[in-house]
């Protein structure tokens, strides 16, 4: 049995220690907002936060999360999720939508660390996240807008 803290809640899961965090949260905890895209840390669809760090949950064994806290799209703190989701809606970013939760989780780390990201900052923070539909231009606009919203709220 492995003890896990996810989105502020404690769980006990009966899984092998090498099972990636992605499949534990999706299949054992039913938190399906985090997506499987490549299984090789190439696309970022599986991005979650582990003790505040953005990680690729598809290659991160669950043993790595013992004693730490996982945050998924379902539990992202309001101070980040509110400006990001409001901006994402305002710019109307998603097409197929499959990668968008991973995009938002990656953008949340950027926004937490950087109140006023430049285009270059966005490139550096977001180039690990693939959007096959090609919504990149709107992702960029939405991150700028989310930063504006966040700054005006604080």
């Amino acid at each position: 049995m492995i003890q896990l803290k996810v989105n502020g809640k404690q769980y006990e899961v009966d899984v092998p220690p090498d099972m990636p965090i992605l499949w534990v949260i999706r299949e054992k905890l039913g938190l399906t907002g985090t997506k499987f895209g490549c299984g090789a840390a190439q696309c970022g669809a599986c991005t979650v936060h582990l003790d505040g760090q953005g990680i690729r949950s598809c290659i991160s064994p669950v043993s790595r999360a013992i004693g730490k806290e996982i945050v998924t799209i379902e539990g992202l703190q309001a101070s980040l999720s509110k400006p990001l989701m409001d901006a994402w809606l305002e710019i109307d970013v998603p097409q197929c939508g499959y990668c968008q939760t991973g995009q938002i989780m990656a953008a949340a780390i950027l926004l937490r660390e950087n109140n006023h990201p430049s285009d270059e900052d966005i490139d550096n923070a977001m180039s690990g996240n693939i959007c096959r539909c090609g919504t990149y231009q709107r992702i960029r606009k939405a991150i700028h807008l989310a930063a504006d919203i966040k700054r005006s709220a604080t």
């Binding site: 899984v15 092998p16 090498d18 099972m19 990636p20 499949w23 999706r26 299949e27 054992k28 039913g30 938190l31 399906t32 907002g33 985090t34 997506k35 499987f36 895209g37 490549c38 299984g39 090789a40 190439q42 696309c43 669809a45 998924t72 799209i73 379902e74 989701m85 994402w88 809606l89 109307d92 970013v93 998603p94 097409q95 197929c96 939508g97 499959y98 990668c99 968008q100 939760t101 938002i104 966005i122 490139d123 977001m126 180039s127 690990g128 996240n129 693939i130 959007c131 096959r132 539909c133 090609g134 919504t135 990149y136 231009q137 709107r138 992702i139 960029r140």
Partner: protein, 722 residues
């Protein structure tokens, strides 16, 4: 002299309608929904198959088409909401069940494809809303004992004088009224939703907060996950595998041989994946072991030398070529491509003695029903398809043979288990259904003005339509019209008096099928590259030259001029930069792109800006049109720069995004889209601008460097660990 092959997408659509018996009855309520009504009849108004209004004022819209990112969740709903005068905030949208009531108005099966959803439903969905509105108004008029023409509707209310009533309150009375055979539609001058800028997509909130349900998210009690060690190429057979090692993985429950390989069933994905890895299947590829990309290209060229079946053959192009002032001989090669949608394929099946339930993201519900019926022996109406959001498709979920659904049903039947198949990314990249590789070779003669007067062309590549549902209308006298889509019908080609366009169609075991824009994904690159070479030969500016070529094609000319104007075509650029243009008709719309690029010393290409002009007729959801243009430009750029599936000894060499790279955010150009105001019938959008992007970029590279790119992709990346 013959001219057998003159079929455009529009004509194709018309002829499909004729051969399939035309429109189906639009307003039958399917059986599955009747059942739901029976339970709640007193508080639900169901004027037709596409709409249910609840006593709580909810307006549920049932989509006959699937949402895969192209935006029909919103644009089709706009059509109903407009005519219904619904409260936009009360709309709920669902994928319809599989049923004949939802058959495509042209294709005569339930199908999403060809960028046809919006225009094929433009009448039917508006009528669905208008019919409901008519009945609600009648119900209110009866209640108030006034004439229906004394009533108006607004935002979910019927209003007459100082009286008003919510739609939800009229549900019972409206349900009792006879449904009229036909109802008038609104005057477009009175539209409040169609064509308006402010409309936000209805599926965005759930796609942002993670609640949207894709096929991958389906979980059913007792379900096992199946991962298949899949036949690498058609015709291969299994020689050896380690059953004991796979079964020894904790959580692995069962192995089963199916037509496509061996499925490993386990409690969860991770166990199934480890089990599949442990299985170590070895294959005998037979004849297919000779498939190598180099030899395929050699064969394409040999076939081009040999000639093919004539799609057009008029006059004497050889003689005319000899007499022409300017002569061009050139060829263009484009490789096999994978669609690579973000959501890997998956399909969940629950099979019992009397029914088969399927949950998946699919574009082909009727084909899937038929496949499942054939495998299980159940009648079609006992196969229930629950369409989930599609995490992208680009054609991968529009497969003639329903490959991934068929496979999941086979596993469910063989094991008796509730099963969900999951493809890994490697399975997706290596699992076929590729855009076929194509070679287009031209010998073109121009007159003193630069107009083409002699056209000799041979195109070589596998046929996508042969063996599929559209073979009868798309493959004419052995010529798959999608292999030369938009070429022989181009405005500057169709009237050339001396021309011969031939097609040579190899039958290789490489699995091919639909890929975003189908034929146009490779034909536009060849044609728009060639046009630039023609312009260069006669020393004309590429835009001026196209103005001459497109002089009798006003809508194409319109987008050409708009893109040129908005991109400041002709103004000087910084050193090292170049602009390239490509303009084409695609899926009943017209798109011109201008790309601005620079090429660094090491040869890497940077696309800085793209200006897009689009004439899609009436733009029902303008921001959705803009979004599709932006996305297609990214998709096309990814293709131009990187995309290539190659073979070695029968095996696909690419595995994952590290060697089948996809465009990333820092490579995305600034895109500015301009929509031509139009009241013409709506055209397609999802595939309207993919094909133009590749030649817009290579034409810009030529402008910047003088180097002509005739083979794609432009830049081969290191194949890493492949």
């Amino acid at each position: 002299m013959k001219q057998s092959g003159s079929i455009s997408r529009r004509q194709f659509i018309r002829s499909t309608a004729l051969t399939t018996g035309g429109l189906i009855i639009a307003f039958r309520v399917p059986a599955g929904i009747r059942k739901i009504t029976a339970l709640t009849e007193s508080n639900l108004f169901m004027p037709n198959a596409f709409l249910r209004i609840g006593a709580d004022d909810s307006v549920k819209i049932l989509l006959s088409h699937c949402e895969m990112g192209q935006g029909i969740w919103t644009s089709l709903s706009m059509l109903i909401a407009e005519e219904l005068d619904a409260d936009w905030h009360k709309l709920q949208v669902e994928h319809a069940p599989a049923d004949t009531a939802y058959y495509h108005t042209i294709y005569a099966t339930q199908r999403t494809g060809g960028s046809s959803s919006l225009y094929s439903e433009f009448e039917r969905y508006r009528k669905a809303g208008a019919t409901a509105r008519y009945l609600l108004v009648q119900a209110a008029a009866n209640r108030w004992k006034v004439n229906s023409n004394e009533c108006r509707t607004e935002n979910g209310y019927v209003i007459s004088g100082d009286k008003n009533v919510r739609y939800g309150e009229l549900v019972q009375e409206a349900s009792a009224l006879p449904v009229p055979a036909d109802v008038p539609l609104k005057d477009p001058a009175n539209w409040k939703i169609i064509g308006k800028q402010k409309i936000k997509k209805l599926d965005s909130p759930e796609k942002i907060n993670g609640k949207a349900v894709f096929g991958m998210d389906i979980q059913i009690a007792g379900m096992l996950t199946a991962i298949v060690s899949r036949v690498p190429v058609s015709g291969a057979s299994i020689t050896k595998y380690d059953e004991a090692a796979a079964m020894a993985v904790p959580g692995v429950r069962q192995l089963v041989k199916i037509p496509t390989g061996i499925a490993v069933l386990a409690d969860d994905f991770w166990a199934a994946k480890k089990g599949r890895d442990a299985l170590k299947v070895q294959w005998d590829l037979g004849e297919a072991s000779h498939i190598n990309s180099d030899s395929l290209l050699t064969e394409l060229r040999a076939r081009a030398d040999k000639g093919g079946i004539a799609a057009t053959d008029v006059g004497n192009p050889e003689e005319m070529f000899a007499k022409s002032k300017y002569k061009l001989e050139t060829e263009y090669y484009q490789p096999f491509l994978a669609q690579a949608p973000m959501e890997p394929l998956n399909c969940t099946v629950q099979l019992s003695a009397d029914k088969c339930e399927i949950w998946t993201g699919t574009q082909t519900q009727t084909d899937d029903q038929r496949a499942a019926s054939q495998i299980t022996g159940l009648p079609i109406n006992k196969v229930f398809i629950h369409t989930c959001f599609l995490g992208g498709s680009f054609g991968r979920r529009n497969i003639t043979r329903s490959d991934f659904v068929r496979e999941a049903v086979e596993i469910a039947k063989a094991t008796g288990k509730v099963v969900k198949t999951v493809w890994t990314r490697e399975d997706d990249i290596q699992g076929g259904m590729y855009r076929p590789a194509f070679l287009h070779r031209f010998k073109v003669g121009l007159d003193a003005n630069g107009m083409p007067v002699s056209w000799n062309q041979i195109s070589v590549g596998q046929s996508v339509m042969t063996g599929g549902p559209f073979e009868k209308v798309a493959v004419i006298n052995g010529v798959d019209m999608f292999s030369i889509e938009g070429m022989h019908t181009a405005p500057f080609v169709k009237n050339i008096k001396d021309q011969k366009i031939e097609l040579n169609t190899p039958t290789w075991p490489v699995l091919i099928d639909n890929w975003r824009a189908v034929g146009l994904s490779h034909t536009i690159f060849a044609m728009e590259s060639l046009i630039n070479e023609m312009a260069h030969a006669v020393k004309k500016d590429p835009v001026d030259y196209r103005r001459m070529l497109y002089k009798d094609a006003p809508r194409l000319l319109g987008v050409l001029n708009l893109a040129a104007e908005k991109s400041n075509w002709g103004t000087p650029l910084p050193k090292g930069r170049g602009k390239g243009i490509a303009a084409y008709e695609a899926v009943a719309s017209y798109v011109a792109l201008v790309a601005e690029v620079s090429v660094s010393k090491d040869g890497s290409v940077k696309v800085h800006k793209v200006t897009c002009a689009v004439d899609c007729g009436l733009a029902v959801h303008p921001d959705g049109v803009v979004a599709q243009m932006e996305g297609s430009i990214g998709y096309g750029l990814s293709t131009a720069l990187y995309s290539e599936i190659t073979f070695k000894n029968g095996y696909v060499q690419q595995k994952n995004f590290y060697n089948y790279p996809i465009l990333r955010i820092h490579e995305m150009p600034e895109v500015n889209t301009f929509i031509v105001p139009s009241n013409e019938k709506p055209g397609g959008i999802g595939e309207a601008s993919v094909g133009q992007m590749m030649p817009a970029v290579t034409n810009a590279i030529f402008a910047a460097t003088g180097k002509r790119i005739r083979n794609l992709p432009i830049k081969k990346v290191n194949t890493g660990t492949a």
